[in-house]
Point group: C2
Chain length 206, copies 2
């Protein structure tokens, strides 16, 4: 029996926890980690301040839980893509990543959360600074592996080294998401990312 | 006689104002608009809370002044580049923009300010949301004009339309700046931007 399908106090507690995290995505996505208050989160979740403190004693704990929730959701979506090794199947791995980005467009709340928190966290003192630094490194490794494999097969149509291309790919995706949040009419995220990737890897167009 | 070269109460007031704005760049760059408090800004500027309120009655006024300061600095640096019309001299205009980006690397404080504030401001309720939306639009116009002019001359080596390329260029630059703030060793901003621009406009390499 899982927490979500069960009944009784444990299931109730899991439900409250879920509501708190949803409230947190909204609060952090609107005013960032520093701007959001525990009081505000409690109010949005429809529980008392004391009730919130029972689940999460400090705002830092909420931040960690929200980032984990976000990773979990990406992982769930990536389930099939994640199983694709970028060294063995680079084209499929890139297709999988593109699908995740396209899916994100349907969840602007999560994208806003990412933009606000990753922006705030550029400052070295932010509690999520290390989290984002590590996340960037790991995604860079993913793309570097895929581009290196493609270069070996003669399927990479760029004179730029795979690591720089990896950095550029992530920059482009993040930058497009930020711009899109300011202007959802003018900014065509998917076609821009697709144009960039297919210019590097013509096999992606097929 | 200008405010900075003069003496007397006006010069003193301008000096205090300058100190407040420097304190604000640091405070907003660290904890964002929402996280920074007027008390914190006063402390960093070495003045009393009342003294700060005399110059800026509300935090929103400080935000506007800091964004204006940032624009002023970019404009000063761009002075020559700004005079370059992207329709008439697209290659030189792109070179000018590249120089600004390279110069930014020497001012990580300003970049941090931009990343933190533009991240926070993706949320529609943020007091700088409209400012950044308008700024993105205006920079998109600049690049779109330059790429359109290059396409007409047959100097644009990409099948992608100029407006999408403009959006991509801005996304890439912003995304690289954010990544660089997390990992200054691994992320090579200048070479990545140069690689992207010369792949589109081979004339830039000459």
């Amino acid at each position: 029996m899982t927490a979500t399908s069960g009944r009784g106090p444990y299931a109730k507690s899991a439900e409250v926890r879920r509501r708190i995290l949803e409230a947190c995505v909204d609060a952090f996505g609107e005013t960032g980690f520093y701007g959001a208050t525990m009081k505000d989160v409690a109010k949005r979740a429809g529980i008392s301040h004391t009730g919130l403190l029972h689940h999460f004693a400090r705002k830092e704990e909420l931040l960690i839980a929200v980032l984990e929730l976000r990773d979990e959701r990406s992982a769930r979506f990536l389930e099939s893509a994640d199983a694709i090794d970028p060294a063995d199947h680079p084209v499929d791995a890139l297709r999988g990543m593109l699908a995740v980005v396209v899916d994100n467009e349907l969840r602007p709340g999560i994208m806003e959360l990412h933009c606000v928190l990753s922006g705030e966290a550029t400052s070295p003192g932010h509690p999520a600074h290390t989290y984002f630094a590590e996340r960037y490194r790991s995604v860079r490794r993913f793309y570097t592996t895929a581009y290196t494999a493609l270069a070996k097969r003669g399927e990479l149509s760029s004179p730029v080294d795979p690591e720089t291309l990896a950095t550029m790919t992530i920059a482009l995706i993040n930058g497009l998401q930020a711009q899109w949040l300011f202007d959802r009419e003018s900014v065509k995220m998917e076609s821009a990312i697709r144009a960039f990737l297919t210019s590097l890897v013509p096999a992606l167009a097929r």
